[in-house]
Symmetry: D2
Subunit: 304 residues, 4 copies
């Protein structure tokens, strides 16, 4: 399979044909981003890397970070994690706080905001310096020490993040947040502000295509069982109320962020990252979705 | 009508026959209260006052304070108030945060917690020293300068009040809370901690039986229109998801608090207060409900 | 009090100033009604009757019939009724079927459609010929033997009534409907199709202003306790998700129908009926609401 | 891979160790089934078949039939199908009718009952004799002409199926059911009553492991795109509110029925069916779940 031709081909087709969507505007720092930027990177488990467009430009990975936080916390506390967060799809935005209230403070899964806030709470309980620890974990996966938070984005989230505050307060009332209200929000907003390039993300996600083993160092970062479960969760819950549609059209586990990034994983084969800031109404990158659908369609191959 | 005989009669009957319920235990300060205490006071618009039992003992009025806060804010901002809080029953605990989310941060009415938190927010915006102003307003209605907050109760609420915190945060995300997160909670928890006796409460509530006019000073504190509307709201929403049952059995507007207090108002005739700490499953005083039902039944008279 | 001058005055004022709303269009038979028709009738407990405009024209009383059905079933099965239907406001359209599902087939109150369908089911169980029995009961209250169903309206409802069908089916799955699916719907649609004039309705509702006693025959049709409770329920739940607003503005118990009729009851004094077909977004007559608000405002008197 | 040893091994282990759950009891016909029956069949895309235990006994496939109905309707109307039913997980039982009401009669996906009722409605619109057509389609996939409905089960469902009736009526009120109320229910209850053996089901599901092509006749029954999408939907929504857990533990798309049957599909490799009537609280076969988890764990292979 000529992956290079494939991604160049899809890149040009999407640049020509796919021009809907609008850049996230709920915080000024994201609204300022140039929406025409567009990059793709595909990394294979045998160490090859193919990229096109703005694949070396840093962008705000936002919710994609939840996969790293899940990996980090899961390898630390293992199956005990599931006492505090579920593994089922939430049925979408329709009933976010309602569902959390009904289910007594246990979020449906680690990829809705409430779930990621619980992961953050565990991170704070388990690590001395949770922000640095998270950064170090991501840097190690990506083999790239320059990866950092964007403080302006983190501050901006804090000013607009009272919906997340409502989740933290509600879960605290049910005893499912153990640390201080503002600490949990602060660490969470920092995590969401991490900036990476398509190439760095593709490399970092290879661990999920390679049964938990770093392809360079051969170190086992996660067990094969843990990776299987993380991939299953991405498949079933990675795109909020577009998870079914993503599975349906792309046929691979994946995760998106409102910064316009989108990642997919083909277990045993590759990881692929797209970045294009204009989003659809559900908050997923329009070109990201289109690129990934075209890739699996043109490959004639998906996990299904 | 011999009100004195009536309340003594009902008092004895309830002391003998009505012994269910349990004292509120969600905060230690309320759990410590001696549950056998029991008082009734009925005050008429022509200035008579009848009382029996522990009618001169201070207790935590809790949610009953919402009526005072509503009166205070309503006479200040008049009908502009209803842009920030509704006038409809909420359908009960079933969907508290869910409904607030669905209706974009506008609470259903001033007597659910979210509504009272919005009133508190307006209080903070409109008065220099909102806590003292509220206390002064209540002292004036009751003609009793000793009325005060219980700081231990206020602190205790603050430690257990994260569900209220969730409401504040959610409303803040919709722009319906203008002041600081913790300030709103702090003032609110103080307001709920006010302590009064049955006699003080009955006197203070006479303003709602007397078209807004203080029966002693003859001062107009609220307009007749405002009082009619406050009474209508008490009738329709004063007892959360037992409002229908209260209207049905008692047939008067009223309000209850988890401290075991319960107030009812007969426009043009009297106000009546019962205090008995043991609560039913919905958080209303068991004897309070029974006393008020017996009073209107034995009077053969209610507003309906 | 010169009730005659009052209603003529309010009539002229509303005809001039209140011209919003649109006639119900969900079934063709209601859509055909001339929206400019407008009548008022006020009947007092001492037997006087005041009317103005189209007060002698028959119209479709629709949901107003629920009060008659409640009265009829309540006097038959008394407090046993409340095992099958609640007495609390529902919190409105927001969660109709959701709430019914959550509360396992027990409707919140007798005035939401699901509640009236349970009343209808009891009617079928308790009377040989439920349609004729209901008609006879209403004819007796109004002292008017010509009152009848409109078969075209009943048929039209049947064709468009699948939302009511969903409630019946759901309650049947919980065991709270005992009779045949289509029978319950058929009787219910007939009941809603009853046609009466403002004058007939005002006379029929006097029973609720007069402690359950017919002012002409002196017969006790309902007990004083039952009437108090029916009035309380009208106050708290009579206008769906505008019940609070109606209590707030009008200050009397009442009930409305999508045919443009609206009834209010002042216990001990009078009943009053307005008919004007144009409805607001919540399905209540625009002029009906305005007329009743003006009447209690100009009287300077309500139950609150 | 020695599939024969694998399934014998897992069979014996589960028979020894997994003994929780209880047979479905909501209809008498299912309650009568001998709960100790237990069979497994695994069929590979190269035509091999491995089975153990009661793999040749007919059982009620119940909701598993939804996959066949989806395949049949999808190959007929293709992507037009998605105007009438969604592709997202529903978030579980919590909000079944609520969600259907909120989303105006469009069911979340084809595997919740409401979705399968829409498929049934399309079946009735598209085929002259929908029951026979469905049976013929299933017989063709399984290469087995004896497959039939169980009329006693279908009748029994009809007597207890008013919750499905509520969905049909609600969707009819939104215009998303085009055929007669009772016809849709009748066909649906017949479809759920189909009886098959593990071996027949495994053969019939091979079409989903083989890109839509019949492994014997080489006929293309579904397109590769359609199969990919059906598998993705099974993965994301096949187990109601245990879909995440199934993906997480088993790592294959699948579907279960309350008759105790459970199917999983490994695209490109095999289909596997377990039958064991005792169910967990969510209505999924306890041994079924355990067998499938053990199979992918011992294979060390899943799609993730």
């Amino acid at each position: 399979m000529d992956y290079s031709a494939l991604i160049h081909n899809v890149y040009q087709q999407c640049q020509r044909e796919v021009n809907e969507g609008s850049v996230a505007s709920y915080i000024p720092e994201l609204a300022k981003v140039d929406g025409s930027q567009f990059g793709i990177c595909l990394a294979t488990v045998d160490g090859k890397e193919y990229h096109v467009g703005d694949a070396s430009t840093k962008f705000s990975i936002q919710s994609i970070v939840k996969v790293f936080v899940l990996a980090m916390v899961y390898q630390k506390v293992d199956e005990a994690l599931w006492a505090r967060v579920g593994v089922e799809p939430s049925g979408g935005a329709f009933n976010s706080l309602a569902l959390l209230e009904f289910e007594q403070g246990i979020p449906r899964n680690p990829f809705i905001n409430a779930g990621a806030l619980v992961l953050t709470d565990i991170l704070i309980s388990q690590w001395q310096d949770p922000k640095q620890a998270a950064l170090a974990f991501i840097q190690k996966l990506a083999h790239e020490p320059s990866i950092a938070f964007n403080e302006a984005v983190a501050r901006s989230e804090a000013t607009h993040g009272y919906r997340n505050g409502a989740s933290v307060a509600l879960m605290k009332s049910f005893g499912n947040i153990h640390n201080d209200f503002f600490s949990v929000l602060d660490v969470y907003f920092h995590l969401c502000s991490v900036e990476m390039t398509c190439r760095e993300l593709a490399r970092a996600f290879l661990v999920f295509s390679h049964s938990g083993r770093d392809i360079k160092t051969k170190q086992n970062i996660l067990s094969a069982r843990q990776v299987k479960r993380i991939n299953a969760l991405m498949q079933v819950c990675g795109f909020y109320d577009e998870s079914g549609d993503f599975a349906f059209r792309v046929g691979l586990p994946g995760k998106s962020g409102v910064g316009g990034g989108m990642v997919a994983v083909y277990p045993g084969k590759f990881s692929v990252v797209v970045w294009s800031p204009p989003l659809n109404a559900k908050g997923n990158s329009v070109r990201g979705l289109s690129v990934l659908e075209k890739i699996t369609t043109q490959l004639g191959d998906s996990i299904f």
